[in-house]
Symmetry: C2
């Protein structure tokens, strides 16, 4: 844990650096979600990036080419779906820091969204991957909201690794070769079933 | 009902034709969903259209322009979210026909998706608006799946208006000025609560 390799120096020596060890979190989650769908365990999708389309060309019949478009800020979290008859909704972020997750990574709209999902009885959390430690954590939505609320009121700007270890859950299970995060969800949200 | 105005002729005389009476279904649902969110009733969003991005320019800092992208076929339905602690998932289609809804309007992936949501315990349905009749119906997912299954096996290629009237539910309530489809959901899925 907390191995302080001289990453930058190494980069020059060798194209493989420890940040790239393993897949990106997004890819891992997409693979896990594919696995869950294929095995009828859950239906969870990453929402497409919202894009504002300005100009479209039709060079050939049936093949539209978007020629001008802009990325839009997401108003919700990236992932949602159904698991064990429950609505599930979460945000996933990969960071380079080995010590803390900066809360500015979560948009205010996403924070508001998480709050509303919680109020309506859904399961919410964030998954944060510390890429350089190759460790991923699930942190419950209500804790995330509490810390974000505090951040908006001039409190701590980030969530420390320590907090993830103490209040979150490391996702250690794998489905085939990617993160089996629903095993962690089982532990956190369905333990009394 | 079934007023056979000579629509095309009228178009030339007056820019307002009866097909455009009222909003498009998508706009109606977006307004309803905004209303539900604002009143903490439900969190239901239309998923962004999936777009495959090929080329992005960065003319100015922080303002990326997508220069080449393509529309992708949706693998899921357009709408999902949470209502009364339940996962809710549906597809919405507006048609010009006054007599039947062609089932080819639903992609096979969307059909598979609806089936899986049902198996996992979610609420599924389709909303079909007969624009020229200015009537919208909710048809339960299991009925839709049955009819689609039949269509895939060389059965009927469309769902008749009669079937919508007999087996579906017309959405008659309004929230302010748009379709209050969750009132219909209440009747269909929560009547015993």
């Amino acid at each position: 844990m907390n191995i302080n390799y001289p990453i930058k120096k190494q980069k020059n020596l060798n194209k493989t650096n420890y940040a790239n060890r393993g897949m990106s979190l997004e890819k891992e989650l997409n693979e896990s979600n594919k696995y869950y769908r294929a095995h009828n365990i859950a239906l969870i999708y990453k929402k497409p990036t919202p894009v504002q389309i300005v100009k479209v060309d039709y060079p050939k019949r049936q093949k539209a080419v978007i020629k001008e478009a802009y990325f839009q800020a997401p108003s919700t979290t990236d992932y949602n779906g159904i698991y064990r008859r429950k609505y599930i909704d979460f945000e996933a972020k990969e960071i380079k820091s080995k010590t803390a997750f900066p809360l500015q990574n979560i948009h205010i709209h996403q924070f508001e969204h998480l709050k509303q999902v919680l109020e309506l009885g859904g399961i919410t959390f964030i998954i944060v991957k510390f890429a350089n430690l190759n460790k991923s954590f699930l942190l419950d939505g209500s804790i995330t909201i509490e810390l974000y609320d505090n951040y908006l009121n001039n409190g701590k700007k980030s969530i420390s690794l320590k907090t993830f270890i103490e209040k979150g859950y490391e996702i250690t299970d794998k489905c085939i070769y990617t993160l089996d995060y629903l095993k962690t969800v089982d532990k956190v949200y369905f333990d009394n079933d």
